[in-house]
Each structure stands twice: as structure tokens, then as C-alpha cells.
Symmetry: C2
Subunit: 210 residues, 2 copies
């Protein structure tokens, strides 16, 4: 094992932290998506706080289309969510004590009209949830790789709901616990993002004048 | 004009604030979506910060599929976004000095595969943006009501990108400036959300044990 992976959670969080910017909330630069989770349960008191944050996301017509299925190891919901994850995610996600499946209603309750931003609004609520988790010292990792039809059947999710991400939640663990060398290297690699001028545009293919 | 609408931005922000909870980041309870914006420009320095926050959202395979078209009044991009808004939104959104159109790429750059969470990830980045705006003392209001095909043509958005919300951004204005009594009443009404047990489920139609 290389020396580089023998680091504490605090050291790893420091390594993963993006450069701070004055006036920007630190939580945006501090949150990252580990795959190694400590063998430690998360209290219901903390879980309440992350869902309290999710409640307050904005949504079209205040529909709040999001419904989160919360699996707490070793309950049945946890097992059903875990079993629907793809092979790669199952390799590491079993370490997280909480698995949360985000779902969202595709029609407005007020008039039955298609809600073209249902998935967008779920993404918002999931962000509030994961940012609040980071603020509480918890780690989260959202996954796309899931057999959505399998979990729809096993958890009885109605046809007018679609799935967003599955969120692994817990306390950060040691990188070395991942065992797989490739996963360990990804765990300790610095976070990267596109430049501001690639995502804020004044016209298509032209950076914004900011 | 009723006395109730003669309130300062600070008083209105206090009225709109959800009940705080220990350990929950205040910004989740403080952010809300006004329709009255003050006649005051937003500096590029602050705009940089809101997009800096958006950069750091999580995304599937770190694709960062989001691209934001930033219209700053009175530029052409602002006009084109504004003209694609529906009639209701055009009634009030002209007061916001910045209009931001969120778009997202529906295929992964790495392999061309469909990205089922492209809109979800845009929702995340848009949340980071709007939360950071709130932290900076700015107001935002996201809109679904937009002629997406009209704006696709006028702004030259490629076919593999879809639209999320349009974000009106600026400084909070006086409720009375909205003039329309119905809009004013909505502006000063308390924010409402579903109960925790309706959005955090242990099984479908059953609250989570948290």
C-alpha cells in the first residue's frame, strides 16, 4: 500500500477541497463524492436535517415532485435499492449505511399536465440534501447506475414517477479500505471542473462577459 | 395600496424565512423566489461567484452537462431569453437585470450514450447557483414557462441540449412595484412545503423512520 492513501478523513477532505473564493459558501468547495464509507451509523437526528434541507428546494408551481425512499441498513428498503445498483456501484456502495433513492412525479398534481422539469426539480432537492449532509460532516455519493425498472417493481414505485440518483450517505472512510487500487487512486485524485467560461455563455460557444 | 405591502426588503426576507433548525445551513431557509426586482444592476464580480458555485455541483461521470446562457440587460441574449418566456412570466420578469437560461447535454461526451440524469444534474447546478446568489444577498426566481423551441432557434442551441429553468436574477424589489394585486399577495404570502414524512419514505406511501 502506498503512503499516499494512509491519510485521515480530515487530510483527505483538505486534499479534495476546491480553492475557496471570498463570498462563495464554503460548502460548495468542500462537498465531494467519496466511495469509502466508515463503518458507522448515521443518527436519525442528522437524517432529519438533510431531508429538512431538501424540503426547501424550489420547484415549478411549488409542486415539490420529489419523494425519497430511505434505506437504512439492514432494512428491506436498503436491500432493494442496493440490489438494483449496477455491478460497479455494488462493489463499493455496500459500505454506506444509508441508501436514498430519489424519485419524482412527472405530472403536475394541480392539472395533470406533463411536468418537463420534474427531474430538474428532483436534482435541486437532491443538491440541497447532499450540501446539507456535507455541512453536517457527512459524505454522499450520487449514482446514476441503477436498474430503474427492477427497483420500480421491488419498491412499488407508481408509473407516474421516474428515478433520479441513488445517494449513498454515511461518514467518510479510509481510502485504503476500498482495496481496489484503481478506486483508491480515484478517491485521492484532486477534483476537476470545467472553466467558468465553458459553462457561463454570452452566446452559444462564446463565454459570458463576466 | 394596503399597508402590508409597504415593507422593506429586509422585512420581506424575514417574513419569507422558514423556521431555522440547528445544524441546517441558514441559506436553505432564507432563499425564496420573488417576482419584484429592484432597478439595480448586478456586478460581474457577483455573477462570477454564482457561476463559480454552479461549477462545483456533482454530475454523473463528472460530465458537467450544464451550459448557462447569461443575458445581461440590455444585451441581445437577454432579449432573446425574455421574448421566449410565456406571457405570465413576461409580466414581471422584465424587472430582473439578468436572465439565465439553463441548458444541458443529453448525451455523455465520453461515449455518446444517453444521459438519463442530464436534466437532474442541471437542476443541481442551478441550485448551487441560486443558493449562492441568496448567500450574496441576491434574489432569484426560476421559471418553467418558456417556449423552448423558440429560444433554441433564436439562441442557436444544438439539438443534443435540452432546456431546464430560466433564472431571473437581481436585487429584491418592493412588493408594491408589482402593481397587480394578485401578484403582490403571492409575493408576501408565507412559503409552504410538504411535511418531512411526505417526502422521506421508508416504503412507498409510508414515512421513513427518522
Amino acid at each position: 500500500m502506498e503512503t499516499s492513501v494512509l491519510m485521515s478523513a480530515a487530510e483527505l477532505n483538505q486534499l479534495k477541497k476546491a480553492a475557496p473564493m471570498e463570498g462563495v459558501l464554503p460548502v460548495f468547495h468542500e462537498r465531494w463524492s467519496p466511495r469509502s464509507f466508515a463503518n458507522r451509523e448515521v443518527s436519525t437526528e442528522l437524517l432529519k436535517k438533510v431531508f429538512e434541507a431538501a424540503r426547501w428546494a424550489a420547484s415549478s408551481f411549488n409542486e415539490q415532485p420529489w419523494r425519497f425512499l430511505v434505506g437504512q441498513r439492514p432494512d428491506e428498503t436498503y436491500k432493494k435499492i442496493f440490489e438494483a445498483l449496477n455491478e460497479f456501484n455494488r462493489k463499493w456502495a455496500w459500505r454506506a449505511p444509508v441508501l436514498i433513492l430519489g424519485t419524482t412525479k412527472t405530472r403536475f398534481s394541480r392539472d395533470g399536465r406533463d411536468n418537463r422539469v420534474a427531474l430538474f426539480d428532483l436534482g435541486a432537492a437532491s443538491s440541497y440534501l447532499t450540501l446539507e449532509a456535507a455541512a453536517l460532516g457527512l459524505a454522499t455519493h450520487q449514482m446514476e447506475g441503477l436498474d430503474t425498472e427492477k427497483v420500480r417493481v421491488s419498491l412499488g414505485i407508481p408509473p407516474d414517477y421516474i428515478m433520479g440518483s441513488t445517494i449513498a450517505l454515511g461518514y467518510l472512510g479510509e481510502p485504503a479500505a476500498l482495496e481496489d487500487e484503481k478506486l483508491i487512486q480515484r478517491e485521492i485524485a484532486p477534483r476537476t471542473r470545467k472553466a467558468l467560461g465553458e459553462i457561463a455563455l454570452g452566446a452559444w460557444d462564446q463565454p459570458a462577459e463576466i
